[in-house]
Symmetry: C2
Subunit: 302 residues, 2 copies
């Protein structure tokens, strides 16, 4: 709580960034938020945060800049686009990129950042908005000792666990993509298995009870199948997130000449869900694609 | 311990059946074992069990017959083949089929059993040999009230948890196949992700540490990846088991007109492992197929 005298900028006050910014506030940091949405800024101000007119204004007054946008392209734009923060940041300060992106993109951003005199921390996050708000995220970070020493206290304030994966930018991003690869396959597998259970006429609540106590369980099965059982696809994390993340996995595996048939099959199912108009629905809605393709009825379907 | 006065036959004293039979002994049952292997019979006798010259001799003196063979075809042979137990069993006794098989096969065996005057319990098991020996299996059972009332005490002696899935034979088998569907996909996904992590040069022990604490985790990832890290493919459960079980899933989904692209992709990888000569190795050896196909080195590979 005490001793955190740094000023930290949080760029992007969405469902993840907002929770991270308020966790930093609780830990005693001076936090400046930036977001395109006036509503998000007002919400953050109401929590006691300071706001800036744009990313560069927030970054120019900060020792650490935490960038919580959607992907690598947005991160690049925040750093080096028109009005980008790289030009505004003071020498020797740290930019932490938290978006999910390919390791190659992270390495490129790190190189350009270091050339501009700032430290880059490759710091993707995991855990969802509830854990973000509680300051209990998982951070998978890699970067120089200088970057870690300057940003370490901020990371600790936002995360239950900070994995330090060495001094090479890209290792954090690579680890996050391994997690997304598995998570994306497991959600699609949960949907495939639950729709097939329905097709066979099994009691779906009983299937959930048995599988979560058996060797077929996964973190995602346990977390997402309740959405299928309730027929409630209010988005916690949307289909489009996995269209994006499994797309990154496909680009990476193709470039690496690494055949990944399970990830490829899962991506096709997310594409089918998005193509069928479910892109904005919860990612568990991939179960509806299986149901439609097989004439099976799931809870909440007509 | 006390009050279990039934005589129970256990047909098949392999890694699962042996543990189940000794669990029944510990619970006070009079247990008669049958197996093709003289060595298995001697081991069981050394544990205090009685042995029979064949399945029919064991079954003819028992109230409950527990059949722990490899698949539906072997179960059918035990029941109705030459020297089959159906003809030897007394009226109103119970035959419990514990092998993994398709629901249609289980339903067929149940019909023929009931016609022969015996009760059929569709009772697939899950948990592995260590839990079998401890009497802590999971049983996914369906069958008539008569079958449950006669075999219930035996099931309780062998299992930490007995799921009662209704009175229709086939429901137990269907539930087990949903578990195998997920388990088979998750092992292949773990192998795919770990080999891809190796291809990217990540520290594999660190990947295991991070993923088991993250949303990408699965029961199978946590259980099987240590075999990959150790480069030790001594079979706990072999590749051929999933060639068989994912083959059953493929037959079921094809017959049901249910597209299951993840299960299909996983089956191809088990077939590749078997075709490459790894059929008898631990199922985690599917990781070696990914490594060979991508020029990646995993622990224990030259």
């Amino acid at each position: 709580m005490q001793g955190n005298t740094q000023t930290v900028a949080v760029i992007g006050l969405g469902s993840m960034g907002f929770g991270m910014a308020t966790s930093l506030l609780r830990a005693g940091f001076d936090v400046v938020g930036s977001d395109l949405s006036a509503e998000a800024l007002a919400r953050f101000q109401a929590e006691g945060g300071r706001i800036a007119s744009g990313p560069a204004e927030a970054a120019g007054q900060s020792e650490v800049v935490i960038c919580v946008v959607v992907n690598g392209a947005q991160t690049e734009d925040v750093l080096f686009g028109s009005g980008g923060v790289a030009a505004a940041m003071r020498p020797d300060t740290v930019f932490a990129g938290c978006a999910t992106m390919s390791p190659a993109v992270a390495r490129g951003l790190a190189e350009r950042s270091e050339a501009a005199g700032i430290h880059y921390l490759d710091a993707p996050i995991s855990g969802g908005s509830v854990r973000a708000a509680a300051g209990e995220l998982t951070v998978m970070a890699s970067g120089s000792a200088a970057a870690f020493s300057r940003a370490g206290a901020s990371l600790d304030a936002m995360a239950a666990k900070v994995y330090r994966l060495g001094d090479e930018p890209g290792a954090g991003a690579a680890m996050k993509m391994i997690n997304q690869h598995l998570a994306g396959v497991h959600i699609a597998a949960a949907a495939e298995a639950m729709a097939f259970a329905a097709k066979q006429g099994l009691d779906l609540d009983k299937v959930y009870e048995v599988i979560t106590a058996s060797a077929g369980n996964s973190w995602m099965f346990e977390n997402r199948v309740p959405h299928i059982l309730a027929g409630d696809y209010t988005p916690h994390s949307s289909i489009e997130i996995f269209v994006k993340d499994m797309g990154i996995v496909q680009d990476m595996t193709r470039a690496a000449r690494f055949p990944a048939p399970l990830a490829a099959a899962a991506l096709q199912m997310y594409l089918a869900a998005s193509g069928a108009g479910l892109g904005g629905a919860d990612d568990a809605a991939v179960a509806q694609v299986y149901a439609r393709l097989s004439g099976t009825r799931l809870p909440g379907m007509d």
